[in-house]
Homo-oligomer: 242 residues x 2
């Protein structure tokens, strides 16, 4: 039975997923999911804000190692594309125009990754990001049919999988950082959108000295080395939004 005919029962898959009891178990689950859909590969890949990664899936081990060693995280169009997208995306719709991207794809195919792929971005607070990816070797038409048919189920599986993975790795959700006071938030937000200290102070109708106090205070709370760093951290932690 080919991967186009196979339509596993969603509730059974989800039940199996939700009954998993640890990270090792998730590895088994994802292999079962892969087999259930009769495709080549399935992957859950978490990317931490600082570039740390956690993954589990059916990609060949040497490819995973190569990926990490080569720093492909910064090249991989799947990561880049998913990161700035809302919705699941077929790999064909990603940007493969760069030289590095094409070299990466060739390298991936050489390591047994399929020519087709479908990736579902998953997000959490503070820019936390993961993606759930399927890969296979087949024609464009077949892949189109497969993804169209299974899209909904896959979205649900992706989110359930992410939930489970998070449950088992509580450390990945950073402790909520010290929050900023309303004035500090306003000050940092204005700086983040390009205002100089003088402009920001003017906008808030306070003296520049006062504004500086806020920025300093925020900087200390955030453990930042300078204003730019503080703004970056505040953005990263979702304390301010621009």
């Amino acid at each position: 039975m080919g991967f186009l005919d196979e339509v596993p029962r969603l509730d059974r898959l989800i039940e199996r997923l939700e009954s998993s009891e640890g990270l090792d178990d998730l590895q088994i689950v994802i292999e079962e999911l892969r087999d259930g859909y009769s495709i080549d590969h399935m992957l859950y890949h978490w990317v931490n804000s600082n570039g740390d990664q956690y993954g589990c899936g059916t990609y060949p081990l040497d490819w995973v190692n190569r990926y990490v060693e080569k720093g492909y995280l910064r090249v991989d169009p799947v990561i880049i594309g998913c990161f700035q997208r809302f919705h699941p995306v077929d790999w064909k719709r990603l940007d493969w125009s760069g030289k590095a991207a094409r070299a990466f794809m060739q390298d991936a195919i050489n390591h047994g990754i399929g020519n087709q792929g479908y990736s579902i971005p998953i997000r959490g607070p503070n820019g936390q990001f993961a993606h759930f990816t399927l890969s296979h070797n087949c024609s464009d038409e077949d892949w189109q049919e497969f993804t169209t048919k299974n899209r909904r189920d896959l979205i649900l599986i992706a989110h359930s999988f992410n939930q489970k993975a998070l449950d088992f790795q509580p450390g990945r959700t950073p402790e909520p950082s010290q929050s900023l006071s309303p004035r500090e938030i306003e000050a940092m937000t204005l700086l983040a959108i390009g205002y100089s200290r003088a402009q920001a102070a003017d906008t808030l109708s306070i003296s520049e000295h006062t504004l500086r106090v806020y920025v300093e205070s925020a900087r200390h709370k955030l453990g930042a080395l300078n204003t730019t760093h503080a703004v970056a951290r505040a953005l990263n932690r979702g304390l301010i939004v621009i």
Copy 2:
């Protein structure tokens, strides 16, 4: 037939949702969804980065107006809670301890919002955020049963609804920006993690002058007013990750 017995067919709901053809249509769809589940209220609520809001749902109009006027966005535990959470959440698990939060809840109930609620956070790139919320008036046990039974379907509906809402409001998704060169990315990343220009230049083993060229170049590409702004934009657009 009560809301506990009613289990609408998911595929029909999604089909109806995906066949919608505009924002007005979505309003009708969400009313149909609400009726389909036989609950009091259903709401899709988008919160823009700058505090702008877009919503559609079955909340009473005077409550919606009051919500906007009173600036409840900054008080609403549903917003605050969903914003820092990964997964769907029952309103009972939110933090209602603050004085403002309790006053808000009382006000909401007075305006016909149910005592029970379930909210699904939805996220996009750049901290974009929405939530899909159900509300009803019933006992804790009944609500527990309802949410447990329909959780999966609701997650899928929430994401599909968000996708549709985005399709109809293309302005909400910012156009992808010009990408940065590798050196520019390195430079901006180092600045974003707190390095001074001198330190960053040293780290990259280039002169500070050269580093400045990168930063300037990145700033121009990003249309940023200064370095801090450029770093903020680069982070926001996912061009750099810290």
